[in-house]
Amino acid sequence: MQSGSNAFLEALRAIAPAAVPDWVLMVTAAVIGFAIALGLISVAALFFVWLERKVAGHIQCRYGPMYAGGWHGWAQSLADGVKLMLKEDLVPRDADRALFIFAPGLVLAAILGAMAAYPLAPAVFFGQFSLGVFFIVAMSSMTTIGVVMAGWASNSKWTTYGAMREAAQVVAYEIPLGLSLLVPVMAAGTLDLRAASAMQSGLWGMDWLIMPWNNPFMLPAGVLFLVAALAETKRAPFDLPEAESELVAGFMTEYSGIRWSFFFMEEYAAMFLMSAVGAVFFLGGFESPLTHLAAQIGGTELFVRDAAGTLAFDASAIPYQIVAGLTLLAKTVFGVFLMMWLRWTLPRVRIDQVMTMGYKYLTPLALLCVVGAAAWEAIKHALWS
């Protein structure tokens, strides 16, 4: 696991001849990582838009998209994407042109940056983030700046309302989100997503952090995290910044075409990342019986450093890496599905209710969880060491 800073860089170092300077390898590795992250965000957005429409449809006793592509309309969001790309890129006359054009890019760039901390597999990752959770939360909060920028630059009352709500909501929910994540961080003793996942590798999920014998405050912290993550990603019932029935589309009212789709990609990528964080800390990360089985078949480390310090590629670890990566992906998709389920179950709340919930309920409860978890960990350490 502690094989190096970047799996792609390690792989390139193993393949490339010694004459190639290190900075070339680093740039190449960065480009590969960027391409993969961008592809992951795009595909995730396409898939989740389709999934959202199917889930919404079936919850309302209808089918959702059925035609595009044949099987259950799988190509619907692909077709929509092509349509969005071909649409006219409108900028309102009285808008602040530079900011208006820059805002969607900033939103997408922030979430793309946050993607860097997502571990694809135990040994395949974009970078060595010892502060992984902190990084994801910080970067995904940066999208708020883009949203406020978009709302203000559009020069319309609906977008300004949306931007104000987004700012108020994110400030209110950032606190419980961070606090509820402190509980698993204390239980795991690390902010690194891969390290936290590696701690939970017992059979049948006995060592999952969420199990009450590990820390009884994890379960309420998980619920708090889910609610705070919904508000943080501005999903229903906390979709006040968009609020299509009262604010038209909130901060993105004036946007169209590909810029508008950037906001959507950001929304689904943010959901994906929040679910990934939740999956790692509250659902056992890479661990499942299948992962456990795959670990028995071959090695678990892709790059093994021998005594002399040279790296060797271990192909027998490939099944484990694939199974582990898919396990995390499945848990992440389940998290996103849970968010969609909640969206099509609950009606939107009023802005004062959002504030009440954030400040009067989630924050004190998260604080309570943090104090309890800290006490539990202190007692555990005092008793067992």
């Binding site: 006793c61 209808r62 089918y63 059925m66 619920v223 909640l342 099509w344 179950t345 609950l346």
Partner: protein
């Protein structure tokens, strides 16, 4: 006072968690059950009895009496046909579906019970003129009608010929020398006249009916 506020606070948390779970159970149930909607162009909902859709005309029964056109409160039925004795050579029978309100009043007065309300309801077109819909299944005359007409004409011709013969015989008996020649020639132009009508009717072929759009042809 303080304790009751705390109780409210705890109850609010409990209620919100509980009601959310209740809601998720309900939506989860719907998520798993089969959708109740129908994939429209591929499948259709069952059509109720006495449904009033696009009209259906039994053309071979129709006698062009115009009863339906007169009954129509908005005059959207127009028909045109040439009469050959009892038989009809159809040119058009149109209903303007931009006007028609599907009141079914055209159906009741029909003495032959040949116009009905159909089950087809989707009538889509890119052109307004296509809503003036022709109900005929074929133009001109059908084979049976033509055969009947020919039979009737042949019968009539035979009858005329017989009558002319009898007349000729009568006149010949009356004044033998004088009017014999012109009276004998009189039936002669009659016979080709009856024969020349048949090829004229034959020009309008019954297969012209293939050009008439069916009720579903608009889709």
């Amino acid at each position: 006072m303080a304790s009751s506020a705390t109780a409210t606070y705890v109850r609010n948390i409990w209620e919100s968690v509980k009601t959310t779970l209740v809601g998720m159970r309900i939506t989860g149930k719907y998520l798993l059950q089969k959708p109740i909607t129908v994939q429209y162009p591929d499948e259709r909902m069952p059509i109720p009895d006495r449904f009033r859709g696009i009209h259906y005309l039994e053309q071979e029964k129709c006698i062009e009496c115009l009863a339906c056109a007169r009954a129509c409160p908005i005059d959207c039925i127009e028909m045109e046909a040439i009469r050959h004795g009892k038989e009809l050579e159809w040119i058009s029978f149109t209903l303007d579906y931009q006007k028609c309100m599907f009141c079914e009043l055209c159906v009741y007065p029909c003495p032959k019970d040949c116009i009905h309300m159909g089950t087809e309801y989707a009538f889509v077109s890119f052109d307004r003129s296509e809503f003036k819909h022709d109900l005929l299944s074929f133009k001109g005359m059908d084979r049976a009608a033509r055969a009947r007409m020919k039979e009737a004409e042949a019968k009539k011709a035979a009858k005329d010929a017989a009558k002319a013969k009898a007349d000729a015989a009568k006149t010949a008996a009356k004044d033998k020398p004088a009017a014999d020649k012109p009276a004998a020639e009189k039936p002669a132009p009659d016979a080709p006249k009856a024969g020349s009508d048949a090829p004229k009717a034959g020009q309008d072929k019954p297969d012209a009916g293939a050009a008439a759009p069916g009720a579903g042809g608009a889709g």
